[in-house]
């Protein structure tokens, strides 16, 4: 048994890193527990296969129970913020209105959350892209949108200095930023918190937690060795799957009927367009634009201009044999975009007897309508951009994992109180995307940070 910390925070990703920094800075003695490895900019895997194996749960991806959808979940110090694109969007009133209506939580509004967004944005280096930063992939997307009369916009990203002028290509950033430019939780919060005295243990997987009066015990496994830590307060920030799995393994399901339910993932459907000329979508900035057309939001989809490395791209295509080689020979002539839908939160997270996750997630009828609607628009855009062929990947991916331990006022439909406490406990908190009441249809990262900032201020005040 270790000493008693003021706080144990489980998960060093978008929420956990910020909480660890704020609480350590306020003078609390904090322990941050992370299941993944502790890379530095010099040691991130350079190639996508190695990165997938070493920095994601499941050794690359996790599949839903019937393998109809794959989920990508970072397992590394910094969590998803190491492997995501660092896009930083505030929610709109539509998202917060829906959250408030479904959860009964009154601070879910743009006005109430604005101070926390402001505080988080002040900690980050943010950059909104401009025309000179568009690569050929973005040029094709923009040309297609404009030809069809759809609005698009430049993305805002957390980044300090990506070295584009020096010739750097940003696609490698998906394996961890080798310049410490991307504003990951590791760069912005965990490293500075360590300098302030934060204790970080890595490659340590939390199995279950145990309320024990004035303290909470955290039972973990480190290279096969059992470890127990304890603190006066515990904050679970392991994400929708991680946090929910810990609560399920801790035996809380009978107490909370909603535990594991209301899971959503913003399913994404990828399209590759092939052009006569070279596109070289892997060069320059990786992602600079997406759709902004006001007609898309009510229809429940958005379009993202993205790309993937060769191994991931190959996986997304169906052909094999000579057909595979023919497609991959055209890699440098490809552009890529995806339809991402605002899905219904009908998924469910369970833990089997072997302790492994079983993720039940299938598209609902509404999800399918949104997918088809978005697909039709994107195909129109890609055709208008001059593509001679459009390839639709048959694989479904979920990258924004949300819900499972959601916040709300109704014990029948929620697990976490509006003050972030696990219902019925004064010293166990949940703060990450697992508390999302439903899918916002907007990149979730900045709002996770704003919610974490809000909890930090609540805790430091007390």
């Amino acid at each position: 048994m270790s000493e008693t910390y003021d706080y144990i925070i489980v998960g060093s990703g978008t929420a956990g890193g910020l909480l660890a920094y704020n609480l350590t800075q306020a003078g609390a003695r904090c322990l941050l527990i992370e299941a993944g490895k502790n890379f530095r900019k010099e040691t991130f895997p350079r190639l996508e296969g190695d990165a997938s194996a070493q920095m994601y749960w499941g050794g690359g991806f996790e599949l839903s129970h019937d393998a109809s959808m794959a989920f990508l979940r970072g397992k590394v110090v910094g969590g998803g913020s190491i492997v995501n694109q660092g896009l930083m969007d505030r929610f709109d009133e539509v998202a917060f209105d829906d959250w408030r209506a479904e959860s009964g939580v009154d601070f879910f509004s743009l006005a109430a959350m604005a101070p926390y967004y402001d505080a988080v944005e002040a900690k980050l280096a943010l950059h909104t892209f401009t025309a000179v930063e568009r690569n050929q992939n973005a040029e094709k997307f923009v040309a297609g949108c404009e030809a069809c009369g759809y609005e698009w916009k430049y993305l805002r990203r957390g980044q300090a200095d990506c070295g584009l002028e020096e010739g750097n290509d940003c696609i490698g950033c998906l394996n961890g930023c080798h310049r410490d430019s991307k504003q990951s939780s590791m760069v912005v919060f965990v490293r500075p918190a360590e300098a302030l005295g934060l204790e970080l243990v890595t490659e340590t997987e939390v199995e279950w937690v145990e309320p024990a009066g004035e303290v909470v015990r955290v039972h973990a496994s480190q290279a096969g060795t059992a470890k127990t830590y304890q603190a006066r307060r515990l904050i679970l920030s392991g994400g929708a799957l991680g946090t929910t799995a810990v609560l399920l393994r801790s035996g809380f399901k009978p107490r909370y009927p909603a535990l594991g339910k209301y899971f959503a993932s913003h399913p994404q459907f990828m399209f590759f367009a092939i052009y006569d000329e070279e596109i070289n979508a892997h060069q320059g900035y990786f992602q600079t634009v997406n759709s902004k057309d006001p007609r898309f939001r009510p229809r429940g989809f958005k379009l993202e201009n993205v790309f993937a490395g060769p191994a991931s791209s190959a996986l997304l295509f169906t052909g094999y044999g000579r057909a595979h080689h023919e497609i991959m020979r055209q890699y440098c002539h490809m552009a890529c975009a995806e339809v991402a839908i605002r899905d219904e939160n009908a998924g469910e997270i369970e833990v089997g007897k072997n302790g492994r996750l079983a993720i039940k997630k299938q598209l609902t009828d509404q999800d399918r309508r949104r997918m088809k609607d978005g697909t039709a628009v994107l195909k129109e855009i890609l055709a208008a951009s001059g593509a001679r062929q459009v390839i639709e990947s048959p694989l479904y991916f979920g990258l924004h994992l949300m819900g499972g331990s959601r916040m709300g006022t109704d014990p029948a439909t929620s697990v976490v109180e509006p003050d972030y406490k696990l219902r019925g406990f004064d010293n166990i908190y949940v703060c990450d995307s697992s508390l999302y009441p439903n899918a916002p249809g907007i990149n979730p990262a900045l709002t996770v940070m704003a919610l974490s900032q809000r909890l930090s201020e609540q805790l430091t005040r007390s």
């Binding site: 296969g49 599949l63 129970h65 191994a311 169906t318 598209l363």
Partner: protein, 133 residues
């Protein structure tokens, strides 16, 4: 060629299914010519032990299965869609993700075998990434 996780027969199965999916083409080596199965441990070391054990068995069967059966399997697993229901469809999707994930990560992962001297597949498809530190 040895592996800490896969039996010699499973490694033969990996090369066999690899060559059916990636047979090589002008300038591009086949999966086995490239020799990347030598480095399969780089990738599977981080996968759950249960998954590795299952894959070991599947690959060992693939080493000895008739070619016609493997062709049928590849057709099925690459043609199955996320919307098809049933246990077989689910199994085919798992195979599709698992097998192709490993094969492509090796082949497009700069993991040439010790005997390979030809061009790297990444070079042939024109994938060059500048990394400015």
């Amino acid at each position: 060629m040895t592996s800490e996780y896969f039996s010699p027969r499973a490694l033969r199965g990996l090369n066999r299914i690899g060559d059916m999916l990636i047979p090589g083409d002008a300038g591009l080596p086949s999966f086995s010519e490239y020799g990347c199965s030598e480095k399969v441990d780089d990738l599977v070391a981080y996968a759950p032990a249960e998954d590795i054990a299952t894959l070991n068995t599947v690959l060992a069967v693939m080493a000895v299965a008739p070619t016609a059966v493997l062709r049928w399997l590849i057709e099925r697993m690459t043609a199955v869609t996320p919307d098809q229901s049933g246990t077989i469809a689910s199994l085919m999707r798992q195979l599709n993700f698992g097998l192709r994930g490993i094969l492509f990560s090796l082949y497009y992962g700069e993991k040439a075998g010790s005997q390979y001297t030809g061009p790297d597949p990444l070079e042939v498809i024109g994938y060059q990434v500048r990394r400015v530190e």
